[in-house]
Each structure stands twice: as C-alpha cells, then as structure tokens.
C-alpha cells in the first residue's frame, strides 16, 4: 500500500480580492506518521488544512486523498475518513450536554447505539471531563471546549486526523493526554497533521516538522 495518505500537487490558491496564499505548492503526508506544521499567523496553515478537507478549492493543481482527487467528494464523505479539528472549537459543538456532544453525530450516522455510548464514556474518562458530562457545552471554558471538540473528533473511526491548534488553551494534564492519544493512534496506523505554535509539543509528537512561511515550505525537520 502507498504510504502517502495526502498529497498536494502544484496547488495554487488565493482568496477573493486577496493575495496568493499558495503558488505551485506541493506536499505529501504519510498515512501513519504525525506531521507538524509551524508558521507565523497568515502563513497559510489553516488554509492548507481547509484545502485538504475540501472546504476550499484550489484555483490550480490537485489534492489527492489516498490517491483519489478530493474534487467532487462531499464534506460528509471526507469527514468519514479524516477527523478535522477546527481552530475555533465553538464551530463544532452541537450537543446540549457534553455527553450528547460526543454522541450526536454517531446517533445520526451509526446504528450501533451501545458501542458509541461506551466509546463516549471511555473518552470522557480519558480526557478527564467525566465530571462535566451533563454540563451545557456553551458554558465551558475555552480549554474544556477544545478538549471536548478533540474528544468528539476521536469518537469516529477515521483514518487520519487534522488538528488546527489543538493545544491552545489546554492545561498541561490535558496536553499530556492528547500527546499519548496521538502517539497511541499512530501506533495503530492513524497519522495526523497538526498545526501548532507550540514547538515543545511538536518535538514530542512530530516525526516531521514543516515550517511554513508565506505559503511555501521554509524549512523541514525529519
């Protein structure tokens, strides 16, 4: 099996009335490794993840997921194979309690009621949010919302994860849980692309650290 899970080939993208974010940008990401993208604000990190997920479409070039172009693939289909964490956790909070937040999407797409409830209970315990399982998510702190959003992504059996700044506003205990979970998933062949400003965190989990600047790879550590 080809090791490449995601590949971008000569991708060019600019926002409407904006400057060119990517010009002939190419990148390949392996399926069972954790890649980190570092870069200053406005360097194109989040845009890159949105292009991969198909939220944005490139003006030129193509993006392949497991060898197939992501053009014309619905976001719903994409979400089934790649778990995506938004920079703003509020975007992906839908439930009226922490527990419901973990189970709502499974209740819509899965028939295995017992299994996903068990998984939700496991994640609540693992991330240390069992005590707030009945709390309304909108009253949680930013750190708690982020960990809840991460746990929601982990609920699904995906092949790859894309996390946009997962550690911002997380305390050290929860960051530790996240590190262990990502490394554990990697052992099981589930890779990840993580965008972060936290260099220490990158060094702990990343096999490949890419430094992005003005839409191009400035530096790369493997």
């Amino acid at each position: 099996m080809d090791d490449k899970f995601i590949s971008l080939e000569s991708v060019s993208f600019s926002y409407k009335k904006g400057k060119m974010v990517f010009k002939d940008f190419s990148l390949s990401l392996d399926r069972n490794s954790i890649s980190i993208i570092l870069g200053e604000n406005g360097s194109g990190k989040t845009t890159l993840t949105k292009l991969i997920m198909g939220i944005l479409s490139p003006q030129k070039g193509e993006i392949f997921i497991e060898g197939k172009s992501n053009q014309g693939v619905s976001l719903g289909e994409m979400g089934k194979s790649i778990g995506y964490l938004f920079q703003n956790p509020d975007h992906q909070i839908f439930g009226s309690s922490v527990m419901e937040q973990l189970t709502w999407s499974s209740s819509l797409v899965s028939n295995d009621n017992e299994n996903y409830h068990e998984k939700a209970k496991y994640l609540l315990k693992e991330f240390g949010i069992e005590n707030i399982k009945d709390t309304y998510p909108f009253y949680l702190s930013m750190g708690e919302k982020r960990i809840l959003a991460i746990a929601s992504v982990m609920m699904r059996d995906v092949k790859y994860l894309i996390f946009d700044e997962p550690t911002s506003s997380l305390d050290s205990n929860r960051e530790e849980v996240l590190v262990n979970m990502l490394l554990n998933l990697k052992q099981r062949g589930i890779g990840a692309l993580v965008i972060t400003h936290d260099y220490d965190f990158s060094k702990r989990i990343g096999q490949r650290i890419i430094h992005l600047e003005d839409g191009r790879i400035e530096d790369e550590l493997i």
Binding site: L75, G76, M78, N88, H91, Q92, I93, F138, R156
Partner: protein, 243 residues
C-alpha cells in the same frame, strides 16, 4: 455622477420613503415600471449596482417569482388564458396581479438599496440627526453588522456538521430534521451569548453614560441634497397627477 455619491443619507432615506410609498399606492404596471427604472437609475448614479443587488437577493427573488405565480393562479377574476375543463388555471387579471406584486416589491428592494451606498457610520449619523433615539439607531447598526456574522457562523456550523461525517444527501428525512435541530440550537445560543457579551462591552465603554450623545462628525445638508429631494417630490407628484 460624483454629485450623487455625495448625497446625505437623510436625502436617501427621504427618497426611499417617497418611492416606496408610491410603489404601494400605484396599481398601474406602467407607473410601477417607471418607478423601477428610475430606482435602478438612481441606484446606479449613487454608486450601487442594481444587478448586484438582485444577484445577492436571487434566492428571495425565486421566492417572490413563486409567490407571483401562485397569486396569478389563485386569482379567478378576468378573462381565462389557460383552463382545464371548467376550471380557470390562469386569467389575464391573475397575470396582472402577479406582475404587479413582483414589480412593486422590486421597486421597494431596489430603491432601499440606495441606503447601502452610504457607510454604516453615515447612515447612523443621518438617523441620529433625524432625531431618532440613539438606542434604536444603534440597534439597527448592530443588526446590520451582526447579520453577516450570523450567516458566516451558520455556514461554518454546516461545514463542521458535514465534516463530522453527516452527509445531508445520504441521511433520511427524520435524521435530517434531527441534524437541523442540532444546527439551530448552537447558532441561537451563540447569538444570545454574543449579544450578551456585546451589551457588557458597550456598558464598559460608557454607552448611555450621558443623556445626550454628541458627535465629532456632523452631516451637512448641501444644495445637491435639496435638489435631489425636490426632484424626487416633483417626479412622484407628477406621477400622482397624471395617473
């Protein structure tokens, strides 16, 4: 052309009031069409785009055209154009009523779009100088800024929901309704929380700290405004007289 772009927002508000009132009062398709053409022309002169406005409102326009068609079908008076047996499907009067509704609403939408050619700040100042209470003006200003944010948030939520593996095209009707429930709840709650935060932020910045609020920048009524208002009056009065 530049003169029109310098128009005071108060003159524009006056014009919108006069033209919209005339659109409601006039029944004739000819006069309503004249109003529509003039509204497009004035919007263009003020720097707006009539086509752009209609494009932005295309989803509502489909609805309006739909309503106009329904109105045409359900009006039984007049000479039948299409009949099935003894049932009148479409009459000439029905078509007239449908077109009347469509042009009337278009006049109101296009003429009101002239207000969008002023900045929010100018419009607020114009309303304030028309002695409208500051609280009400501020509510309008916030609503104008808040709606695009609400739309963006809703779009982000839909994207996030789809990326959670929910494919709207593939799930059944019952599950689709449940998905919309999950969608509407956070959007509503977030809006309420945002407005609460905004209220707190306004309070700490001293909103309504004094009875009267003064402005550094005041709008001045110029000759072009007077000429615009008088021309609007003459035009509408002329149409009233000759109709």
């Amino acid at each position: 052309m530049n003169l029109f772009r310098r128009l005071d927002p108060r003159s524009k508000i006056f014009y919108v009031g006069v033209v919209s009132t005339a659109a409601v009062v006039f029944d004739s398709l000819v006069y309503l069409s004249i109003l529509l053409v003039v509204s497009f022309a004035v919007l263009y002169l003020c720097g707006g785009s009539g086509i752009g406005t209609l494009y932005r409102l295309r989803k509502i326009l489909y609805l309006l055209v739909g309503i106009a068609i329904v109105q045409s079908i359900f009006t039984s008076e007049g000479t039948p154009i299409i009949t099935i047996g003894s049932i009148r499907i479409l009459t000439d009067y029905g078509v007239f009523r449908g077109l009347q509704f469509l042009i009337r609403l278009s006049v109101i939408i296009v003429s009101s779009s002239i207000l969008l050619t002023s900045t929010n700040r100018d419009l607020t100042q114009g309303l304030l100088q028309l002695k409208i209470p500051y609280e009400i003006v501020f509510m309008l200003l916030i609503a104008g800024k808040f709606l695009p944010l609400l739309r963006d948030e809703f779009n982000n939520k839909v994207i996030a929901m789809e990326l959670s593996g929910v494919d709207f095209k593939k799930i059944g009707f019952k599950k689709k309704l449940t998905a919309y429930k999950y969608l509407l709840l956070p959007v509503t709650v977030n809006s309420l929380l945002k407005s609460k935060e905004m209220a707190i932020s306004m309070e700490v910045r001293g909103f309504r700290a004094m009875d009267r609020r003064s402005s550094y920048r005041e709008l001045k009524f110029e000759k072009i405004d007077l000429a615009f208002i008088i021309s609007s009056m003459i035009f509408i009065t002329g149409l009233f007289i000759i109709r």
